[in-house]
């Protein structure tokens, strides 16, 4: 059994007495057991983070940078182990965890190690002639973070890196389905030189441990990646205590194929974009809008490629697509597809669970759904792509934006004006042109509208995790200042 907590630089058993079995979604076997945290653990972790903040917020940025560089090295050394455990606890194919999750996490770490030494600010100057003004960019305090199960390691890093790089301390709760790589991360972070209490990990459920973290009065800021529904709850609690809330919520990315698109590229892009991580990706391509002239060819092309996708043991490098995270997730996906078909949509491929142990579901392509139907408007978070036709560019943009989400989108076109228009008019935090999914550490990731607020990665994430202080110093040395005369008019000594 693994100690399921990392508090104040040490592993610890959770105090709740509840044991959680972390299951492998590919076969239902238990990967590890952890005991869950209780309220006392939450209090201890927050106290440790608070105590550590005093020093961590005041060391020169280079100290934080060097610790993150050391962390990147450790993670590189353990890359295979991280990938293996990530695959075991999530069911994601080993090719994905080896080629995407782990290298992405390492690169994020290297980026933030550098970015930690670049805190933006306005130059010091005398803006009114009598005061020298400078700007200090300072960390906030203890950040309470909640990460999801779809990219457990990488999402933990997205929460931890900018916060810690900017001088905050963190109490992070991974999803109770997938705590293991986050616990490995905490161990490596300590070994890399992060002082005790800077990065703490608690395992538990949202309603228990998650809410306790978010509501704790010493947690000054909350950062949440997860469903829109839970995001609302987090925002509610944070608003009640006037805490800053950073929310990365759901998505329903449109994939818009214009008449002049490279069709072969769009077909490949749609499959990759829809199926990454078995569709359990908030930026996944979920709704394809294809110009009527390309519609049939697109549908048959995508269906053909999707039918060839290999499902199997995620630990097998030959496997393309792993299972969904849990039986309940598969039930949800199954039900949504069934309701779509019952509502008049047609299955072009997939739409069933194959005969395999584990929570597998075939890549699924649907046509004939209405724009206002559930399958088009609601996040499925499964390997399901729905395709709708459009006539005009205006219509394509309107349909793409007809969603309450706004995380990511793509447009497929070779026309320079169409590309500009799509990038300008689509309401999303990321717009790809002729690609879908690839992100880089230097660029911000974060949604518009109900997809949340705030950015992950990039220097923009520092805007979330720092607060800016204006320091204004009188340089006149004069007792009776000019501006006092607006308040009172004592005769001045020189009068």
């Amino acid at each position: 059994m693994l100690p399921g907590q990392w508090i104040d630089g040490r592993p610890a058993e959770g105090g709740s007495g509840h044991v959680l079995e972390v299951a492998n979604p590919a076969d239902g076997t238990t990967v590890e057991s952890v005991t869950l945290a209780n309220g006392a653990d939450v209090a201890d972790a927050v106290a440790a983070a608070r105590a550590a903040f005093r020093q961590w917020s005041q060391v020169p940025p280079v100290v934080r940078s060097d610790a993150l560089l050391a962390l990147a090295e450790r993670m590189k050394d353990r890359a295979d182990e991280y990938a293996r455990v990530e695959t075991a606890q999530t069911g994601k194919p080993i090719r994905l965890s080896t080629g995407f999750d782990v290298p992405g996490s390492v690169d994020n770490t290297l980026f933030f190690a550098g970015a930690a030494r670049h805190l933006q600010g306005t130059a010091a100057a005398e803006w009114d002639g009598d005061h020298t003004s400078t700007v200090r960019r300072e960390p906030i305090g203890v950040v309470g973070s909640i990460a999801p199960w779809n990219y457990p390691l990488q999402m933990a890093m997205w929460k931890m890196l900018p916060a810690v790089a900017a001088g905050n301390t963190v109490v992070l709760k991974p999803s109770e389905l997938t705590p293991l790589t986050t616990l490995m991360l905490a161990e490596d972070a300590s070994a890399a030189g992060l002082p005790d209490g800077v990065f703490n990990v608690l395992t538990g459920t949202g309603p228990d441990v998650g809410e306790a973290i978010v509501a704790h009065p010493d947690v000054r800021m909350v950062s949440f990646t997860g469903s829109t529904r839970v995001g609302h709850r987090v925002a509610e609690i944070a608003a009640g205590q006037l805490k800053r809330a950073h929310l990365e919520l759901g998505g329903k990315a449109p994939f818009v194929v214009f008449p002049d698109a490279d069709l072969a590229a769009a077909v490949q892009g749609a499959v990759a974009g829809a199926l990454i991580n078995t569709g359990q990706d908030c930026t996944a391509a979920t709704r394809a809008y294809v110009h009527h002239s390309l519609f049939d060819e697109f549908v048959s092309g995508v269906a053909r490629v999707m039918d060839g996708v290999r499902l199997g043991d995620p630990a097998d490098p030959a496997t393309d697509l792993g299972p969904l995270i849990s039986p309940s997730q598969r039930e949800k996906v199954t039900a949504m597809v069934e309701r779509a078909v019952a509502g008049g949509a047609t299955l072009a491929c997939g739409g069933f669970a194959p005969d395999l142990p584990g929570c597998f579901y075939r890549p699924t392509l649907l046509t004939g759904a209405r724009q206002d139907s559930e399958i088009v408007q609601e996040e499925v978070f499964g390997p399901v792509l729905v395709v709708l036709p459009f006539e005009s560019d205006d219509e394509a943009i309107r349909l793409a934006n007809d969603t309450r989400y706004g995380l990511a989108a793509s447009a497929w076109t070779s026309d320079v004006r169409r590309a500009h228009r799509a990038s300008r008019e689509i309401e999303a935090g990321c717009v790809w042109i002729n690609d879908h999914i690839p992100i880089v550490s230097e660029m911000p990731h974060g949604g518009y509208k109900q997809s949340g607020m705030g950015k992950d990665m990039s220097q923009y994430s520092f805007d979330e995790y720092t607060q800016v202080k204006h320091v204004s110093v009188d340089i006149t040395g004069v007792a009776n200042k000019e501006w006092h005369r607006t308040i009172y008019s004592n005769p001045r000594p020189d009068q």
């Binding site: 020169p60 290297l110 030494r117 005398e126 004006r417 500009h420 228009r421 009188d474």
Partner: protein, 478 residues
């Protein structure tokens, strides 16, 4: 020992006649460095141009990874590099290990991270119907010339930000001190940390530098050196309108107010004035002491000077020695010249002598009662000589401090916060230290005003100096 050049990843001696390399602590020749010919320079520039084609297309993340490895390489080979540096410059080994290696390694790591930070503007429609965006790109092939006072560190200040930004470099170290830079370039090649041709190092003299800087195949010239050398680089570059980056001399004023702590200030300023034998463009070389504190301060400073040890007796391994010899015979003679020509009204309060004939040593020196127009006040001495002048009012201090052609660094010593900030505003120097002198951090820029040059070393500004900005504007309406 014959010193190589490193061109296109290959180490071999340049083609011209040898220049003798002299150990300044003994005055004896220990190696030769051939002067690169025009053909050598051509080869180096061609190699850089070729390598630039691919290097400019690497991702910033890839460049970060390569440069982080260079930082580790320096750390792992610090002993060898310090030994070579010391033999070539006379620097004391323990001090160089403690005070130069850690900042150098840190500066390299800083720029590795900075490679991934490219400041720009939001893309948008600033005019209806047109989308504008900013690209920040490398400049191309950069010619760089480095000085003899901190050969290895100055090389790092030059080539690391340049390659971090995606440029390729041809670097010529000073004719007297090429060894450590060449060795570093050799190590980088041997370990294949950079593609061949991204960093080229050629040995040579002033003529080599001129040939390099005026070469058609370079896009920009950067030099850390004397004002005269900087002017020559600027003149050459002007002929083809090439960008220039100049880190030239300094004559740092140190303004000590009555409310400063004389003993503490003297202790710190002796180090800041005599470190590296004062061969530092930011050296605390020109004290302005307010009337009330003047005598106490001078006494304290003279005492510090007398107790500051050179490596003359104990050699480069001496743990207690701070001050090396002057770098070369010419510099030693130049500094002695200033001392010998001191005007009648000036008084030597400490030093002014040589400890002996061996090597190029001069004792830490304090000269007081100097006037603003004196030669030793107006000109950079670049030796272990600290001058002292009096002042009465803040305004006088500012006028005297600013009354030189240099503008690199300065310091203010006072407990009064408002006065410190007012002085920070009034001083025409690229760095204003308050109650300290010398410390640098990689995040902050180092660079001068007036004849100290233009352009920044260190900080993101230093990296940006090796980039060019391009505006892309696309018509978006039919």
């Amino acid at each position: 020992m014959q010193v190589n050049s490193v061109i296109n990843g290959q180490a071999s001696p340049a083609s011209g006649p040898d220049l003798e390399l002299i150990d300044p602590s003994s005055g004896t020749v220990f190696a030769g460095a051939p002067v690169a010919t025009g053909a050598d320079v051509d080869r180096a520039v061609a190699a850089a141009r070729e390598a630039f084609g691919a290097w400019r297309n690497t991702t910033p993340g890839e460049r970060q990874a390569a440069i982080l490895k260079i930082a580790n390489l320096i750390e792992d080979n610090a002993d060898e590099l310090v030994r070579l540096e010391s033999q070539n410059t006379g620097k004391p080994i323990p001090v160089t290990h403690a005070e130069e290696i850690p900042p150098m390694v840190d500066q390299v790591r800083f720029f590795a991270g900075a490679a991934r930070i490219l400041e720009g503007r939001s893309a948008g429609e600033y005019m209806s119907g047109f989308t504008s965006m900013i690209r920040r790109e490398p400049v191309g092939v950069i010619a760089q010339v480095t000085p003899w006072n901190y050969p290895l560190m100055m090389a790092i200040w030059k080539f690391i930000p340049a390659i971090a930004a995606g440029n390729a470099v041809v670097l010529k170290p000073s004719d007297t001190t090429p060894v450590s830079t060449v060795r570093l370039a050799e190590m980088i090649s041997e370990a294949e940390l950079l593609p061949p041709g991204v960093l080229n190092v050629i040995t040579g003299d002033r003529d080599t530098g001129r040939t390099l800087v005026s070469h058609d195949g370079i896009d920009m010239a950067a030099i850390t050196g004397s004002v005269r050398a900087g002017m020559q680089v600027a003149e050459e570059a002007a002929k083809s309108v090439k960008r220039v980056h100049l880190e030239l001399g300094g004559k740092a004023p140190v303004v000590v107010f009555d409310d400063a702590d004389a003993a503490k200030a003297a202790e710190w300023l002796a180090v800041a004035g005599y470190f590296n034998a004062g061969q530092d463009c930011t050296a605390a070389t020109r004290i302005l002491a307010q009337d009330g504190i003047h005598d106490e301060f001078v006494a304290a400073l003279a005492e510090q000077a007398v107790s500051t040890k050179t490596t003359f007796d104990g050699g480069a391994e001496d743990e207690d020695a701070l001050v090396p010899p002057l770098n070369n015979q010419a510099q030693m003679e130049k500094v002695m010249g200033f001392i010998e020509r001191l005007p009648e009204h000036a008084t030597i309060a400490a030093g002014g002598t040589r400890p002996g004939d061996r090597g190029f040593y001069i004792d830490p020196t304090v000269v007081v009662d100097m006037n603003q127009k004196d030669e030793a006040i107006q000109n950079e001495i670049f030796g272990p000589v600290i001058t002292v002048q009096r002042f009465s009012t803040d305004e006088e201090a500012v006028a005297m401090a600013n009354g030189v052609m240099y503008g690199l660094a300065s310091s203010v010593w006072t407990e009064n916060h408002g006065r410190a900030l007012r002085m920070a505003k009034a001083l025409d120097f690229g760095t204003v230290w308050i109650n300290t002198h010398i410390p640098l951090v990689a995040e902050m820029p180092h660079g001068g005003f007036k004849q100290s040059g233009y352009g920044k070393d260190l900080s993101l500004y230093g990296l940006e100096d090796y980039t060019r900005i391009k505006h892309v504007m696309s018509a978006i309406e039919d």
